[in-house]
């Protein structure tokens, strides 16, 4: 019953989306407003239907409606209330519903915001959005239907993947998908620009805020994913360079490049072709990510089950790329506008350099991710491309990018004079060198760590220099300190909001660098009462206890931690779920600004007399999450409407 209702609604939504897309396109071609209005109504219908589908599925989860196969597979009577809601998007079918719903939501926002302002571009953008939405609804009806009947109705369901029983799992996919789908809007406007031949600045101005929103959610999704990985997966890290993580990271890189190159086009009317290409690339990469996650072509921890859906996604990816690039080829002549620059030493150049590095990093990640396929196709040999490769190749690129983060915002547009350089960079460079020297004096011998120290301090100093100078200028006009700083943020162009985002990234870079360079770990087997030592901490094994939970059973170890005085008891566990073969490690940790204690319970004797543990002292990891908070703040400021037109 529920299944049929849901499936029916999905079908109608698909029909409406197809109709709406065609109507919007026809309306745009013929200029008949009635058609466009009709398309808008169709879009509204799609939104209402997808929302109802989503609500229906949630209701089915809450009421244990096992007549729906998806519910029966992803929940059981023991699943707590909270995870019955997040279970809705815990697996493939539900993730597609969530995705479609967000796309529909964005479509509605697009209609509300741009219906009036952008007469020429809007209908085509609407048509593109509805076309993409139609594809996802097609997936929902054909390849991964969430509403499928389960007969006979089982008495109990199978249960959610235990790794997903975590708060991070509500927010991580939601943020990530908001980011992924968010890039659909700039893409839709880029397509509209290509179709109409209005490849000037209008589409950029229209999509500017959209891009920031999408970029921000993508960043947030990546960070929450890292946090989930760190405290749930129990391997002691936050980023594994897994193909699916890479898939989410690539559009972030190209999206970041786009956010910067947009500024050059706004000021100098240059790089139009480049900007359009970046948007196409970014959107293509989000599709590639979905393809990778759902096709099973490349093995990954995060991969959903495979099926016909992979082929469907590949077909759509091909359609999107060929159409978009075909349009670029078609409009080739219109792009022919030569740029002009005043000087090699200018912010324009810094931004170009930033774009080259970001796109090169994206390429590196892409090539490394698909290289196993290539190797098998050419040599017939399976190889792995993992963390050691990506770290080695990308660290120099990222370090250069961080360095540019200090240079870019302070170097002058058009032409930087010697005076400009001296005025802005003398102190930061001096401080950077001093930091490297200090690091060396403190015993840091790795060139990389010293370079990172120098770069981080340099960038922080540039931000500080500019910020104090601007605040002082305001003070001189008679404002008092706090309003002056606040005013800078809120009123004065987006420059200072961008700084806050940069600061967030810088703090994250610091955390990443610190955890790489200074973390230590060990592994040992302890008898009850015995103590292990690591980095000045002592861990005493106090024993094991068994606990039964509503849907699983766990064995919990108790370890008293001290460093001279007792700091507390860590209780890592192993969880045994009936539906899983292998137990799930549940880590315990003690977070700190300087270092985290991280404890994983390994093998243990059944009588509780001995246990093997993996101990880690992870340095500076907390700064990654703190950086995430700063970044959020900066992005929120950047999204706020500007009260003052920027210069």
């Amino acid at each position: 019953m529920t299944a049929d209702l849901g499936y029916g609604m999905t079908l109608i939504a698909l029909g409406l989306a197809v109709y709406g897309g065609v109507a919007a396109g026809a309306g745009a071609r013929t200029g008949r407003l009635a058609l466009i209005e009709s398309a808008q109504h169709a879009a509204l219908g799609v939104f209402v239907l997808v929302t109802s589908c989503f609500a229906l599925l949630t209701y089915a989860f809450l009421t244990f409606d096992f007549s729906v196969r998806y519910v029966a597979t992803n929940t059981n009577l023991g699943t707590p209330f909270y995870y019955r809601i997040t279970g809705v998007w815990g697996a493939l079918e539900g993730s597609i519903i969530l995705w479609s719903w967000m796309l529909a939501l964005y479509t509605i926002i697009l209609i509300v915001r741009h219906r009036v302002g952008a007469r020429e571009l809007y209908p085509w953008a609407l048509a593109t959005m509805l076309g993409i939405l139609a594809f996802f609804l097609l997936v929902m009806t054909v390849a991964a239907p969430p509403f499928q009947r389960q007969a006979p109705v089982p008495a109990d369901g199978r249960g959610l993947n235990p790794l997903l029983e975590d708060t991070g799992m509500i927010t991580h996919p939601v943020a990530l998908y908001l980011g992924f789908t968010g890039f659909t809007v700039p893409f839709a406007f880029a397509m509209a620009a290509l179709i109409t031949g209005r490849i000037g600045d209008t589409w950029l101005v229209l999509t500017r805020r959209w891009t920031i929103v999408a970029w921000y959610f993508l960043s947030l999704g990546l960070l929450i994913g890292g946090w989930w990985s760190y405290h749930v997966l129990g391997w002691g890290g936050y980023w594994a360079w897994d193909p699916v993580e890479n898939a989410a990271f690539m559009p972030w890189l190209t999206g970041t490049a786009f956010l910067h190159s947009v500024m050059i086009q706004e000021r100098r009317r240059m790089l139009r072709l480049w900007n359009i290409s970046l948007v196409i690339l970014t959107f293509g990469l989000t599709l590639f990510g979905t393809f990778l996650t759902r096709s099973g072509v490349i093995a990954s921890v995060h991969a959903f089950t495979q099926g016909s859906i992979g082929i469907l996604f590949l077909g759509f990816l091909a359609l999107v790329l060929l159409t978009a690039l075909g349009l670029v080829a078609w409009r080739w002549e219109t792009f022919r506008s030569e740029g002009e620059l005043d000087s090699v030493v200018s912010r324009e150049s810094a931004f170009l350099l930033n774009n080259v590095l970001l796109v090169a990093a994206a390429f590196t990640v892409f090539f490394g991710t698909v290289f196993p396929l290539l190797s098998e196709a050419v040599r017939g040999v399976k190889v792995s491309v993992g963390a050691p490769f990506f770290n080695q190749v990308n660290i120099p690129l990222f370090l250069s990018l961080v360095f540019l983060m200090g240079v870019g915002p302070l170097i002058a547009w058009r032409r930087a004079s010697l005076d400009n350089l001296k005025r802005n960079f003398l102190w930061p460079v001096a401080l950077g060198i001093a930091a490297a020297a200090a690091a060396f004096a403190l015993g840091v011998r790795s060139l990389l760590a010293a370079l990172t120290c120098a770069t981080t301090v340099f960038v922080a100093a540039t931000i500080a220099v500019d910020f104090t100078r601007a605040t002082r200028a305001r003070l001189r006009v008679g404002e008092s300190l706090l309003p002056a700083m606040g005013g800078l943020m809120l009123r004065h162009n987006r420059r200072y909001r961008g700084f806050v985002v940069h600061l967030g990234i810088l703090i994250i870079a610091l955390g990443v660098m610190g955890s790489h360079a200074w973390s230590v770990q060990t592994e040992t087997t302890l008898h009850r009462g015995e103590t292990a030592e690591l980095a000045g901490y002592r861990f005493r094994f106090d024993g094991l206890t068994a606990v039964e939970e509503s849907n699983h059973f766990k064995v919990v170890g108790a370890f008293t931690v001290s460093n001279g005085r007792v700091l507390g008891v860590l209780r890592p566990a192993k969880k045994f779920y009936p539906q899983e073969q292998a137990p799930i490690a549940y880590v315990d940790y003690r977070l700190g600004l300087r270092e985290d204690l991280y404890l994983v319970l390994g093998d243990f004797a059944r009588d509780g007399s001995q246990a093997t543990i993996k101990l880690q002292v992870n340095r500076l990891v907390s700064w990654i999450w703190i950086g995430g908070v700063v970044l959020t703040l900066g992005a929120l400021l950047a999204i706020l409407p500007e009260r003052h037109k920027s210069v």
Binding site: F291, L325, A329, W332, E333, L373
Partner: protein, 178 residues
Amino acid sequence: MKRLWRWLIPLAAVPVLVLLAYGFRLSPRDIPSPLVGRPAPGFALATLEGAPLELATHRGKVVVLNFWASWCYPACYEEAPVLERNWRGYRERGVVVVGVDVQDKREAALKFVGDFGLTFPVAQDLKGTVSVDYGVYGVPETFFLDRQGRIRVKHVGAVTDDVFRTTVDRLLAEAASP
């Protein structure tokens, strides 16, 4: 129509798409073993009952070396009767089945052996050294060794009657001919 080359732009996406499409033909879980064709690594373990079990003592026979675990459900449960049946059918013809139990607990393994009435020798690989020596990824995996003690076939997943018979018959025939 000049500047035809610009139509090459969309074509740039084609190689990538072809590569991804090629990926559908592969299984990322299917990894060929470099050990096939090489001499099988020797080992000396103890059976579940505590008796010594050495691979070298079976030299000259066709050896079916099966890695399994009692927690490996359902594949190991599917193949256990197959192994037992064929062990009984072939043991007189110079074939021996050897089970290696990995990452398991003795009681659970004994129960498994009892439940299925397994009569072929089963050893326990407590430290995982033998599984790593054979490049085992997961259970069940089965190696077919010829009379010269070389690994000839590696089978991943549950062994079926068909796989067992065709492989063993081939190895027996080959060894008899020269």
